[in-house]
Assembly symmetry: C2
């Protein structure tokens, strides 16, 4: 069945067939290139479209066809969904959601604005961002900043149910896009800088009732591990694999937040995602490997039980959150056809694993500047840390200089794309280093639990803070690399037209040749782009859509109105000159060919 | 001398030739269609460009080429200036000013943000708007919300001088664009709803020193009238022509604000502008003609002394401010070549006067809905008021129903355009009626001094709240009229390409055929448009620029976050459904042909 112009009525018809089919519905819709039914494009997080009206030859003719101001400033992460004739657009706090009519240049069908305590802004680490809404069963799911998960009727915007997923007074917030799998809505939690106990939680899609909750650290019954069956690099993890790696009760405020992207392999019936930094950022204060922070999880979506795990950065000393997207691709790895999981970690290594069992196949630097570890030991899976860049080795309060990447990683949440026709991954990256000075901090619920002061800058002798690269995950090699003056903090889109799109912090939407990286087109959108490029087809025409609105971690200086060195711009000082290029904004721009 | 790509250095060179030449500079620059040196396009307020790359035939190919978010939400009135390679963009409160590099898609050369007490927002009647900056002598002049007039170095944005033009604690605010004539900067005052004593003030352009101040009401030495030489319909006004029309000291809080547009005839050495409503809106409280509120003034720019005056709405009962632009055009009037002044008043009459002497030549309704007066008596210049629509005739507190136009007039500040090739005026209009219920109010400095409650709606049996019309000012007839769902609150632009441009409250930039009104192009900008369309040439290419950002009087409901009837939406209730089309914004969109 070709669902090219699925009307809301058709959606409803599919929907009321019941939860068991919801999964079928999404599996069907994700294959329809005229729609964009989940923030990552599909369950495999490919951010790829088979649409090919827009090609490397004609993309230079692209131009905006309509625009929409969200009425909200600050960082606009994520991107819209397109279901039938309707586009769903979300905003940062106050987390408005709009249903826009594609038949009428984005006329507003309905809008939703939650009532939230604005104090929640004070416990959001990295701007007031939100990474998008999810669709399932005729509903739109939104994870509000105050960690309330809501289900809205996709047709009317009316609240269907609401569920408290966290306690903002403890620094638990919502920034990620929910993820619908089968009859469940999965949602993570933000707050690694506030000592949350990270977890992924599944709710019944119809009712909002809690289905399961899987913590990142703690006893086995909280992390939903089977000591005999859950494996790490092929071996059972054993009893209380997490508890053994924490001092005392530190796991209870141990971080491992889950604010990134999720993926799903329906054949293997596994979901994949990563956990964030252990809390605090001061490594001396939390001895041990701090499992399972900084970890890739493969879990059964029905039960939440983990099939396998892999910790990328044991005992993190740099805030290298492991939450970046897990891209599922069937590619040759070192010559052998593989059901791979590809992950570009904050720590600067591009990992390729066998997603069936968590075997580590490739771990190579995707930014040559990375210096904190020489390599990853393929037998143990552990990075070989360079002691000069260990932020703990110098003793408490030692300011460790010139660590690459900086805390915001060689890549942050901005998702990469995968193109089957090249077999390559297109990765928006940061090219930033840091000085890292830990300080002693004690935990108080709802107060920052950071414990380090940072200063960021480009790698020595260089000026570009970012690169947009093509990556061969089967060999772990950069194929081409386009330097950018600022970090590329926008999600990429790859298309069958041999074009890859991404946005820049100055505000350019760019199109490059998939094979060479050659720039084919750029357009200055109203504000810096930290959103993810989306494509869809409507009325027989291919469209490109992007949210602009500078902010997020890289843009927090601008978003929060900081200026000068006195305002704690250390962590983002490298981005200070951004204000020469762009101002705050919040606009969706939709492009097409003439 | 063709000043096509005047660099800032060239500007500076011209500038330092001294104040006497500044006038010459602007007279020269206003004739260069590649630039746009004053908000009204030229001293005659034509809003016309001789550029004709964009034509009725090819305008359908127009598309955005770059965009710029101002980082400010709420109503964006006015439009940018273009001087050489630089575009100057202003914002509503907090009144930022940006200098953007036209050679680099609007990269920010400098920005200026005044420090103002945000409480000023509480004394701005109709959103936090600002109608633009002025250029002269290498400086950019900005009238801040707090009624501080500042001069900025056009090259660096550094403050050159600053002058207090009013007292915001008394409700005196700045919203209008300053106007540079010869060696002076002229600036009005807003606050007709706070009982200000309206005046136009001239400052020395170089130093900011006060040159003269001409009040709208008061003794002759305050209003700068010569009882023998200042005329009204050809006759000397006589001694204390204003005082005689007020009860006691009421003129001291008598309104007559001067927040609109100004024009200048260098040959006649006269400036023209209008004064606003008498305060309060409750007509029973202020007997008399309330001169010279609601008046067109022709003054000598060197001395401020009035040459002639004409009061359009004596003893206003409807808030029909007379501040709309005065367009100076040499046109046939009733067959006779005339140095005309054409003015579309809030009261719904389109006036044509002889600008040399203030003789009234034409006064006809430019919206057929106008019902408050049958006609204007051409001998006395007074409107013949229909007693049914007198808001005073029914006695105090009587709710007068169905008055057309509503208080916001058949047109508000949104300026019209004039095209020499057709001899027609292109007028953005409102098509709104009202119920008007006066109530007793007493004056307290800094408190609203309104004294009437309004309810607005479209004329009976109609749904369109606006029309965009072509007007023959020589005969006083509508040539064509394009209905719009909402008031057209955007300044028009007429071009030698036979195209007229305007924006709509839903956010469309529209291009129509000058001769027929046929819609040729539209584009949905990010937010509702209350800004004025501008054109310029750069690098041999014609551009169209428009600020979007809904607000102003029509959009105040949205801008101030009002909703429902409980929030005092009476005055703008007719615009409630705007939120189905657009959200707050603040974006400049620049268009060109491919």
């Amino acid at each position: 069945m070709k669902i090219r112009h699925l009307s809301m009525m058709t959606c409803a018809a599919i929907v009321f067939a019941g939860p068991a089919l919801a999964n079928e519905e999404l599996l069907k819709l994700e294959k329809d290139p005229s729609q964009w039914v989940m923030p990552t494009g599909d369950y495999s997080d490919h951010r790829y479209s088979t649409l090919k009206q827009i090609t490397a030859a004609n993309v230079k003719e692209l131009r905006p066809v309509w625009t929409f101001s969200t009425g909200v400033l600050r960082g606009h992460e994520g991107g819209p969904l397109i279901i039938g004739d309707v586009m769903y657009v979300h905003t940062p706090f106050p987390n408005k959601v709009f249903a826009l009519d594609l038949n009428d240049s984005g006329k507003i069908i309905w809008s939703y604005e939650p009532k939230q305590d604005p104090n929640v802004i004070g416990v959001m680490c990295c701007d007031t961002v939100n990474r998008g809404v999810a669709y399932g069963d005729g509903m739109i799911f939104l994870d509000q900043a105050d960690a309330t998960l809501v289900a809205l009727d996709a047709k009317t915007g009316k609240l269907v149910w609401s569920q408290k997923n966290g306690d903002a007074s403890k620094g638990e917030t919502g920034t990620s896009a929910p993820f619908v799998v089968k009859d469940k809505v999965l949602v993570g939690i933000s707050g690694g800088e506030f000592g949350v106990q990270g977890r992924l939680t599944a709710y019944d899609m119809k009712t909002g009732k809690l289905a399961w909750k899987a913590y990142s650290e703690g006893p086995d019954d909280q992390i939903l591990f089977d000591p005999e069956k859950t494996t790490n690099l092929g071996k059972p993890v054993g009893k209380n694999s997490s508890l053994a790696t924490w001092q005392g009760d530190q796991w209870k405020t141990g971080g491992g937040a889950t604010w990134g992207w999720y993926s799903y392999d329906p054949e293997l019936n596994l979901i994949y995602y990563g956990s964030g930094n252990p809390s605090t950022w001061n490594p001396s204060q939390r001895p041990g490997d701090n499992k399972w922070s900084m970890t890739i999880f493969a879990r059964n979506p029905d039960t939440g039980v983990a099939k396998w795990v892999y910790q990328m950065t044991p005992h993190d000393e740099w805030d290298y959150d492991g939450i970046n997207e897990m891209i599922l691709a069937d590619i040759p790895v070192k010559g052998k056809p593989t059901k791979a999981l590809v992950h570009f970690d904050r720590n600067g290594f591009g990992y390729t694993l066998d997603r069936t069992n968590g075997a580590l196949l490739v771990a190579e630097k995707y930014d040559p500047a990375v210096n904190w570890a020489t390599h990853v030991d393929m037998a143990t899976g552990r990075p070989e840390v360079v002691s000069q860049y260990s932020t703990q080795a110098g003793g408490p309060d030692h300011n460790t200089k010139g660590v690459c990447p900086a805390a915001l990683g060689s890549k942050d949440e901005q998702p990469a794309a995968f193109a089957p026709q090249t077999g390559l991954f297109y990765v928006p990256t940061n090219h930033v280093c840091m000085d890292y000075e830990p300080f002693k901090v004690s935990y108080t619920a709802g107060q920052p639990y950071v414990g380090a002061t940072l200063s960021m800058f480009p790698p020595k002798g260089q000026t570009n803070l970012g690169n947009f690269i093509a990556w061969d995950a089967g060999t772990g090699k950069i194929v081409w690399s386009d330097p950018e003056p600022f970090s590329v903090w926008s999600g990429a889109l790859a298309t069958a037209g041999d074009v890859v799109f991404y946005g820049t912090l100055e505000g350019y939407l760019k199109a490059v040749d998939m094979k060479t990286g050659k720039e084919l087109y750029k357009f200055k959108t109203p504000s810096g782009i930290i959103g993810n490029v989306t494509t869809y087809e409507h009325g027989g025409k291919q469209y490109i859509a992007i949210l602009s609105g500078v902010g997020g971690w890289a843009g927090i200086g601008m978003a929060a109105g900081l200026n000068g060195d006195t305002d704690g711009l250390g962590a983002v000082g490298a981005y200070k000159s951004l204000s020469n290029y762009t101002q705050l904004g919040g606009v969706l721009t939709v492009f097409a060919l003439p």
